[in-house]
Symmetry: C2
Subunit: 485 residues, 2 copies
């Protein structure tokens, strides 16, 4: 315990456990390397050893930590944990020399773990298989949330506090205690996550993709990440493969709790208001862009449909795979994609953005305000899925949106100070906060984040983390009150 | 009464009265014309006659209207009234042929009445004195709010409903019943408004500006409008004149109720939290830009100070006079001005934007959220000027900000569909919603809105109205529920 009342030893103990877990995952890419390019394996093995060593040291040196902790310790474990795995996650890039700059390596790793998918690599296909696999693995680990895996395997944080941890990584907007047994549910989530990954890998292989690429793309899809093993992302693959990826992106952008409800209680999940709005956005914007491509760009209909919906699904789910350079479309078509970057995917999914449920709640509240303005005596309760929404939930949702936009504007300002153009700045910030991947202009689908100055890359890495952990868990640590007892 | 339950006759009766009042104001520019360019007077007189005639017809043909009305009628009177005076206000431009296009004339008039100050005129100095005076007059009328003048002179809307009208034009964010006698207060407001105008005119004349220009610039300042009689706005005037205008812009961007408190109760107004934050924003951003101009642009210090603070005050108060082309500054300097366009002036001022008080309340609430996150047992009440803020006020404030941003994004999208570039679109929308005047790129200080396509001009005219009437009064009319009884 320090003077501030934060149990630092307890926090460091958990940092140790997180790093140990990361090291275990690193063994996978050592094995891949052993199979595909054995000459590389010792270099990769050394990052594994360093990570396991650091984790073991933290873990063992603090094993006498007292078990007293509050929300503050959990905030520190989550946010600090994400920074820490990103720091150690740079080692495979740095040791192999594929990414010599520490800033670039940190950007790439944070982009991986936060499932953003924004890259600084000019030649992805030049990487060795082991490193490529690690790159895709960061998505897969970050998608489910290292904490969730952690809970499932170690089982050693009390049920009570798990709730706080869980909410930080798996947005639970309405704040209802969904699960009497969080640990139980977490295990089911992990099973669904793994099943989707296996199923997509199988279907991609059916389309002629090799095993290695299939696994990597499945990792990128199910985590809504977006790192591909190819320089031009999904553009070179067959229509069948594009449709498979579209389908699994859509699945991964929906609320995972719905799948639990579907399998365990045989609920009709299509009555869920968030799911309906999520599908509606995809249908609406997808259709508009299909028509634009068909009538304005004169593509054939199937291609227009596939390309429009691929980009729409990829961006609303915050995946960020691309099957075309959307900046070649008319400006008013790609600005619709920017709108989708704001909205983002469903709550309790691995996607980013403001999240459909918040858009829904804010929209209902505003609609109600207007109703009341013209009919002041009207008594109307704002409901979500049939249940009244508590008033503090509405306020928190609105505050979240305001804060989200403020951070976006503030970050774009910092990029501009760093001599990045206005369009590139806003595009990059929105895509990183939303966890999408490709941005506009200099950071569009046809290029990458390599050319940005270092300071801007750090700002964007921070934006990725803020977006992934839904703002509060990160910013709260910077509020002086946090450190007062 | 119609089937919808809206008392249309009552609404039209008030439209008549509003037009009659506009016609009376038009007589002023007929007199100016008679003095400066007598050949023009018959043309201007004909617009006056048409306006008075239409007003008289509406007023007299509905004088048997029942006096039963609710908030819905007042929304229609306010919003419809603003559209109507803008329609008839185009006549001096159209009849004289200075602005041959109806779209352009409507844009210019709406820009005048909403005190935006965005212009489509390439050669302002080519206008006759009578028309120039009408242009500045639209600012002055729109600044105090035609309804406020209306109440003062006609005295014939019941005290109860005046409150609703008053709130639409003079933002009253916290919703407290400030005034036991609204009509009384309105009269005092009008006296302050006139006094400031007279005082500024006098001080400008002391600096060598002629009477005509002094009156027009005072109209533009006190109303936080921004129409100048010169092509290059305030740039050509002496430092003394620039300082005088800066001072009165600052006065006009503060909450006018503070002046009442100062004069009537001898209150220490510097304890007012909104005023403090408003002055803080000016001081902070003004200082930063002063340093940028001094160190990066190598201007002398007095010029850096004056130019930085002139632009900052002009934009936060939503006036829009310019003393330099700020687009020549580094990008990160003018992006700070964009930030000020969002924030806007104080509540119960004639300025635009989101308003300082909303920024303050949203900020306090968010700060509180963070405090509670790390200290869940903390009981803290959010206060404004020592009084707790009701929770529905916080929600409304947050919803307002969200809606404001959504309308901005939506409008910019429409401009882009109309083939306007992204930067010009966002700059134009923000400056029009905020009631500022100059935007970015094509609509920056060195140019004007003339080159935009017609459809975009209509979107921007709508944005000006939405910004001036603080969203709700305008949008509520488009909600189908409004027309249901």
């Amino acid at each position: 315990m320090t003077r501030s009342g934060v149990n630092i030893k307890f926090v460091i103990h958990h940092f140790g456990a997180i790093l140990l877990l990361e090291g275990i995952f690193m063994i996978l890419d050592d094995l891949i390397s052993l199979y595909y390019d054995p000459l590389h394996v010792t270099i990769l093995l050394s990052s594994t050893v360093v990570t396991l060593g650091a984790g073991g040291f933290f873990f063992l040196s603090t094993k006498n930590a007292t078990q007293s902790y509050s929300d503050r310790e959990t905030f520190l474990i989550v946010t600090g944990g994400w920074v820490l795995i990103s720091l150690f996650g740079t080692l495979p890039y740095l040791f192999t020399g594929y990414i010599p700059s520490f800033t670039d390596a940190f950007f790439e790793t944070m982009s991986g773990f936060t499932t953003t998918g924004a890259s600084i690599l000019n030649n992805i296909e030049g990487l060795s298989k082991g490193v490529l696999f690690w790159r895709s693995e960061t998505h897969w680990i970050g998608g489910i949330g290292i904490i969730v895996i952690f809970i499932t395997i170690f089982n050693f944080i009390s049920n009570n506090n798990v709730h706080q941890l869980f909410s930080s990584e798996f947005s639970n907007v309405t704040g209802q205690k969904l699960f009497p047994k969080v640990i139980q549910v977490t295990k089911v989530l992990l099973i669904i996550y793994v099943s989707f990954t296996v199923l997509e890998t199988y279907l991609l292989m059916q389309g002629g993709m090799n095993f290695f690429d299939s696994v990597c793309h499945s990792f990128g899809t199910i985590a809504t990440g977006g790192f591909s093993t190819k320089n031009n992302s999904i553009e070179g693959f067959s229509p069948y493969i594009q449709y498979v990826i579209m389908f699994f992106m859509m699945l991964s952008g929906a609320n995972f709790n719905l799948y639990i409800a579907l399998f365990s209680k045989r609920k009709n999940i299509f009555k869920d208001e968030e799911l309906r709005l999520y599908l509606f956005f995809i249908f609406l914007i997808g259709s508009i862009i299909t028509l634009i491509l068909f009538f304005k760009m004169h593509y054939d209909f199937e291609y227009s449909f596939r390309t429009a919906f691929f980009q729409v699904i990829s961006i609303i789910t915050a995946t960020g795979f691309t099957s075309t350079d959307y900046l070649q479309w008319p400006e008013y078509a790609w600005i619709l994609l920017i709108f989708l970057m704001f909205i983002g995917a469903s709550s309790s999914s691995t996607g980013g953005g403001i999240k459909v449920i918040r858009v829904l709640i804010a929209g209902k509240y505003i609609k109600n305000l207007f109703k009341k303005a013209s009919h002041p005596n009207l008594v109307s309760v704002i409901k979500y899925n049939g249940k009244p929404i508590p008033s503090q939930v509405i306020r928190r949702v609105l505050a979240f949106i305001v804060l989200y936009l403020l951070i976006a504007i503030g970050s774009a300002f910092l990029l501009m100070v760093d001599h990045v153009s206005a369009t590139t700045s806003f595009g990059s910030v929105l895509t990183c906060m939303g966890g999408v991947g490709p941005g506009l202009e200099l950071t569009g689908p046809a290029s990458n984040f390599h050319a940005l100055p270092d300071f801007s890359k750090w700002v964007l890495a921070f934006d990725m983390l803020v977006g992934r952990l839904e703002i509060f868990s990160v910013l709260v640590i910077f509020v002086p009150d946090f450190w007062r007892s």
